[in-house]
């Protein structure tokens, strides 16, 4: 073990002095500079919009199961002018808003905004983010984008309707002239600004504020995932921002960046495909932006609840880095059918398939972590294993879409929808739930009910798998995505049954979330008080109070070892338990065997 010079610790104390907790309501709850409070702000906003996005999903599912029939409950509230039923114009705004809200205003704030903020400083032994003021600005910029989303929902001619991918010319005034589309493009731009501010903060914080001894190879994997995500955000969200800005210019000021056509109805010298390049240069890394935090969190939780060190920690880190690097080079597989030259398509195919190698290494590491462990099937562990299940399905179905030949048939079908929902939606959602169940005691100082958590898990997993398998099967049978009424086509008529089963599962999925909401609120008010380390795990945040004080650590910890030190016989002999904290000193002089294990 290398000794930590006392000057280094002193330098950290000087860099991050203890500030007094503000007492006024405004500075404590609204313009808070505390990363834990900002994390909670993102959590509430994200969970709220998750519910909105979820209700929109239910309406899509209703339309596929009972096309044109009045929607129960929601229809009589929101669609009264149409007799409670969804019309084609409403339908296209519903699936567009569902996609955009879920990606940018639900999963991103929950996984990255809430857990990124809450965890990063705590897990690296810092007192706050590097730029607390920027952090607050990031949240309130995000809040502004939420206002734009709401304005879009009530926009003239309806909300945005060009699909979440917002392809021009459909997304220009040629296809969607309403203000709803404009507000939504603006909302994506503004939330992008917020994400970039957050990203810069996360990247800097992890580089600058790691506690003494917290080397890169001692970071918890959740921190690695969140940090890599922040890097991808800083690199690629600006590309999305530029695409959104050019699109806004096309919509509002009559430019023609993306409008093309030499015929009478539409004329312009722009290039619609340019938008797709910009969108997917961002869009493919975005898939990993949403899943890297989930991978990191699950990698840690699998080790924690197997009571065993994570298998080949460095391999997991390298695999995540490799995925990040590759993520920027594979986006063309979204565009195989746009008329690419074959060589370009084939190059993207090769790079896409290569991503499966680091992904396989991650899976192997997870599987080998649980093997020979001492598995505790707590609620967070169940959700972590659930993520393996749904991400396994999602990842494997990606193979068909990455190859140019099989993509000819499957492109733009529900198979694609099923695939990316299993990866981005189901896996991120399940991992978010694992994270909420796991860090709830640290965030709020109380414990959630385990029995309700397990009931919630099983219904959620079964329903998610049914819903998205149903999509995979419908797509395999030829159903295109985004069809208001698939049964217009003779070759799709027989798919009503499978779509209906998937829809019933979706409705049940929604109801299961009320178990979670009940459990969450009840635990918040009356849950059993949590001690500082209820899960008996080793990362830094579990060695401060639950919830942590305003300044996180009275004394900045000195880190001595990696994040997954479980089942060490030496620790068991000296401490009488199966784990040791990252900054915890072993009583007596440390023998060399333990020191080298870090």
């Amino acid at each position: 073990m290398q000794a930590i010079p006392s000057e280094e610790r002193a330098a950290h104390e000087e860099l991050q002095p203890i500030h007094h907790e503000p007492k006024s309501f405004f500075f404590k709850y609204l313009w808070s500079l505390d990363h834990k409070m900002i994390g909670r702000q993102f959590l509430w906003a994200g969970l709220g919009f998750l519910l909105v996005g979820g209700l929109l999903a239910m309406m899509i599912r209703w339309q596929w199961a009972f096309p044109g029939k009045p929607v129960p409950v929601l229809g009589s509230i929101f669609l009264r002018s149409q007799g409670g039923a969804i019309g084609p114009a409403t339908y296209m705004t519903i699936f567009t808003m569902h996609g955009l809200i879920m990606i940018f205003f639900a999963i991103t704030p929950v996984l990255i905004g809430a857990f990124g903020n809450f965890l990063l400083p705590l897990q690296i032994g810092a007192r706050d983010m590097a730029f607390p003021w920027l952090n607050a600005l990031s949240f309130w910029t995000f809040a502004l984008s939420l206002v734009f989303v709401i304005l879009s929902l009530f926009g003239e001619l309806g909300a945005a309707g060009a699909g979440w991918t917002t392809y021009p010319p459909l997304s220009t005034n040629v296809g969607t002239p309403g203000s709803g589309q404009t507000w939504m493009v603006a909302a994506v731009f503004v939330t992008g600004v917020s994400t970039i501010m957050g990203g810069i903060n996360y990247v800097t914080t992890v580089i600058r504020h790691r506690a003494p001894g917290m080397t890169w190879m001692r970071l918890p994997l959740a921190t690695w995932g969140l940090w890599l995500t922040a890097i991808l955000n800083v690199l690629f969200v600006p590309v999305l921002g530029s695409a959104a800005l050019l699109l806004l210019l096309d919509r509002l000021f009559g430019t023609q960046f993306f409008i093309a056509g030499a015929t009478a109805s539409v004329s312009g010298g722009g290039d619609p495909i340019l938008f797709q390049h910009l969108f997917w240069i961002f869009g493919h890394p975005e898939v990993y932006i949403l899943i890297l935090p989930a991978w990191g969190i699950v990698s840690d939780l699998l080790s924690f609840f197997s009571r065993k060190p994570a298998n080949w920690y460095r391999g997991t880190v390298y695999a995540m880095i490799a995925v990040c690097v590759l993520s920027a080079m594979v986006y063309g597989h979204h565009m195989f059918l746009t008329g690419f030259t074959p060589l370009l398509g084939q190059s993207f195919m090769l790079l896409t398939l290569i991503i499966s190698v680091p992904a396989e290494l991650l899976f192997l590491n997870w599987l080998r972590t649980v093997w020979q462990g001492s598995i505790r099937l707590t609620t967070p562990m169940l959700f972590s294993l659930g993520m393996l299940f749904v991400f396994g399905m999602g990842g494997l179905t990606g193979l068909y879409l990455g190859a140019t030949a099989t993509d000819i048939y499957l492109h733009d079908t529900m198979f694609v929808v099923g695939h990316f929902h299993l990866t981005m939606a189901a896996a991120s959602f399940v991992a978010s739930l694992a994270a909420i169940y796991f860090w709830f005691p640290k965030m709020f100082g109380r414990r959630m009910n385990e029995t309700l958590g397990k009931v919630h898990f099983w219904i959620t997993l079964v329903c998610l798998v049914t819903v998205f398998s149903g999509q995979l099967l419908a797509g395999y049978s030829g159903q295109s995505r985004r069809l208001y009424d698939p049964y217009q086509y003779t070759f799709l008529k027989h798919l009503l049954g499978v779509n209906r089963v998937a829809s019933y599962a979706a409705f049940l999925l929604l109801f299961a979330q009320f178990i979670f909401i009940y459990n969450f609120i009840r635990s918040l008010i009356a849950g059993e008080k949590a001690e500082s380390n209820p899960w008996q795990v080793s990362t830094l945040e579990w060695f401060t109070a639950s919830p942590p004080p305003y300044h996180n650590y009275d004394r900045i910890p000195t880190v001595l070892r990696g994040p997954h030190e479980f089942a060490d016989p030496e620790v068991r002999r000296r401490l009488g338990r199966d784990f040791i904290g990252q900054a915890e000193e072993l009583p007596e002089a440390m023998p060399p065997a333990v020191a080298s294990a870090g």
Partner: protein, 260 residues
Amino acid sequence: MTLLLAPLPEKGIGLPHDASLHGWRIDALINETSVYVGLLFVIMVAWVVLACLRHGPRHEARFDHGTSTRSIAVGLCIAGAIFFVVDGPLFVNSLILARDVFGNFAKVEADPKSVRIEITAHQWAWVARYAGPDGKFNTPDDIVTFNDVVVPEGTPILFQLVSTDVIHSFNIPNMRAKIDAVPGMVNRVWFEAKETGEFDIACAQHCGLNHYKMKATLTVLPRPDWEKWAAEASANSARDYDPDDREAHWGWDWSEHARI
């Protein structure tokens, strides 16, 4: 002339009926991949279930960081093996199929029997144009059809597509053919039908309000019937040709390398 009915409904979950000469190649690749993927998934789930059953709370966890050279080598070998066995065939077959079949336009263009069709997609219809006996597009003998594409059996059919407004995608699931129609670009696709009948043509790219109704019918006729149909249709077009109807005069010089 063969009596034709509406497209036949499909039964059960699975790939729709393949009426094309080469569609089975895509189907085979999909199904082969499904075997590997299914196997990997079953192994993964079995592994986790077995771990939960055997290595529960009463099992003593092994203190192992998985960092021995042997352990790392095993991991890398498994990942490499999966890549070569599962991804490898997908990659190689995609290259072969692009070269020999789906991207082999040179061969189709050289075939004197090939039928060339120009498609203009717009919100929300497919308009098809055949060159007629003179072999030139945008001339009085062109056949122009609306949401109705008629092609001969056992003949390569070569399409060039444009769009006049937003992006559409020309999708014939029963022929395993699909390509985007993009404003400002000419894209191309080809297939050969191996049986007669009627099939759905669908739009695969969200193109606005009536995207779901942007549907056309593909009718495959025996070659002699098709030639009879084409001759009649072309004669009708020539007779009804109106030189002043500028809207109807679209079509471009067919260039075999019309790619941007």
